[in-house]
């Protein structure tokens, strides 16, 4: 790129570079190949030979078992979709609205409020007071829908990224609207939100991924299996015999002969599937969001 003719040192660098990156890239994706392959391997070959990179005997038995009685999986999918959808919309909107106010240079208290938000990243009361507040005083255990969304709504980091982007939008645009008599909320909604689309798209995706991958809030606050999020349901399948036993009893297997190992891996594939499928299309937004954040430092 920078020099036309390649010198010896550049050739050496290139060879080493290609080798290192190839190895890193293969290491990054190999576990995905392994669980997909294990999920389509017949149970008895897993028990006999163990998991391997290429299925010794192909079988879709695990998926048939799971989708033969799909109620549990579909319910968990629904819970996670709901959390992701509601959380991303409310979270993005409130984060952006807060960021908008902090980005106004004529707002004399912006530094005080910025400190109010930033301080929470430096010091926290710890998880015990947080848990007791959520359970004993906010009664989140009785409200699984709210419990799995509310605690993650706003992150200070996202707020700062959006704020620095909004600061880079020239004041002249909003000033004109102000002279025309537009209120702050209207300027935010009709001018700043559309203008901030690039950064909002990536932040929205990061928020959505956070909710999609969350198992912790279910782990802390949800006792009723009907409200388990997808990842927590997967966790139960991987770790608790009873969830597996439920699948196999529904599908008419005796406990002794029930398929376990490939069902575990098939569930992992099902829980990750949408992310892998959407990843190629969304990846550029993630990268953009990161580099916007990195410019700010």
């Amino acid at each position: 790129m920078r020099v036309q003719r390649k010198s010896v040192s550049e050739r050496i660098f290139n060879i080493i570079g290609y080798i290192i990156l190839t190895i890193m890239a293969i290491i990054a994706v190999i576990p995905f190949v392994m669980i997909i392959s294990s999920s389509v391997t017949a149970e008895h070959t897993i028990l006999k030979y163990g998991y391997s990179l290429i299925p010794k005997e192909f079988s879709t038995q695990a998926y048939e078992k799971i989708f033969g009685f799909p109620d549990d999986v579909l319910r968990a999918y629904w819970v996670t979709l709901r959390n992701t959808f509601i959380g991303s919309i409310i979270g993005l909107f409130t984060t952006a609205m807060t960021a908008y106010v902090l980005s106004r240079t004529y707002f004399a208290w912006r530094h005080k409020f910025s400190f109010f938000f930033y301080f929470t990243t430096l010091f926290s009361g710890g998880i015990v007071p947080w848990y007791i507040l959520c359970v004993r005083y906010l009664h989140l255990k009785d409200m699984p829908m709210i419990a799995q969304v509310a605690p993650y709504l706003i992150s200070v980091f996202n707020m700062l990224v959006i704020k620095s982007f909004m600061q880079s939008i020239p004041d002249s645009i909003t000033e004109a609207a102000k002279i025309d008599g537009a209120g702050e909320f209207r300027i935010f909604r009709q001018l700043m939100l559309p203008l901030s689309k690039p950064v909002l798209a990536s932040i929205a995706l990061f928020i959505a991924i956070g909710y999609w991958n969350d198992w912790y809030l279910s782990f802390m606050f949800v006792d009723d299996a009907a409200h388990y999020s997808l990842q927590f349901y997967l966790y139960k399948i991987l770790n608790a015999a009873e969830a597996l036993a439920r699948i196999s009893s529904l599908s008419g297997y005796h406990v002794g002969e029930m398929p376990k190992e490939n069902i575990k891996m098939a569930m992992a594939v099902i829980a990750t599937g949408p992310i892998i499928l959407l990843y190629p299309f969304l990846q550029k937004y993630f990268v953009k969001g990161l580099t916007i954040g990195a410019v700010k430092g």
């Binding site: 609205m97 807060t98 990750t272």
Partner: protein
Amino acid sequence: MEQRKRKGFFKKVLEYRQLLLMLLPGVLFFTIFSYLPMVGIGIAFQRFTFDGGLFHSPWVGLDNFKFMFLSGDIWNVTKNTLFYNVLFILVNNFIEILCAIILAEITNKHFKKITQSMMFLPYFISWVVVGAFAYNVLNYESGSFNTLMKALSLQPFDFYNSPKIWILIIVMVCAWKNIGYGTIIYLSAVMGIDGAMYEAASIDGANIFQRIRHITLPCLVPTIVILILLSMGSIFRGDFSMFFQVTGNNAMLYSTTDVIDTFVTRSLISTSEFGMTAAAGLYQSVLCFVIIMIFNTLVKRYNKDYSLF
């Protein structure tokens, strides 16, 4: 005087009423989920009962802290947390900088794009699924590692009975999941370096290694300092999901894999020792706060632009 100042305050509130109203959801959120728990720090000085709550539980002074430090576990988990984080910072930053520099120099666009995408993918996977990966590779009966060992007619290895090896496993898993993210940040810093410097260096006859050593690396110092400073703030925090899911919360492995966060959460859920657990959490928060303050001040003294605040 006081009167006038007060009047000014109310006038400001009136002037800012729209902005303040828009701030309200954010302020409420952090008041509820961050500042109210800070009030709850009181629990660390109480013999807290769930029925009594914060207002009717007996106060016990520093007993919880005494009990915590005397019972001994806290030293080991603190040491583990610190040890892992130092390893993470060193290993991850090294790999990320290496990959970013290579990516910046390599000319084949497709290769660049594909490897970068592949390396970034693990970042988007939940820790539960990573736990499934770990189980797939490591479990004794059917793990693919032991499948391979058997195929080579070697002895199978019982990972879940060998706490020491988990230091290596966890460092590898953490790098595997996070380097894609860090590489992109470092790459954008490398791409931001002025190309004229490289041209001048080439004309002067510098080879690629000299250019990296004398231009790229020095130009990356601000990014490195800021990223390391950011990780310093959580050097006494362990990623609960990672340690919990990757080890499968296996008690055999606590000696080398238990960190403050797993220790606290486990005690919170499985015991009713709220006071002692809150004390451990407060101890962690104070450690983190002190560390970030010290390092931020040091960095600020060295170069103001590199500090966080």
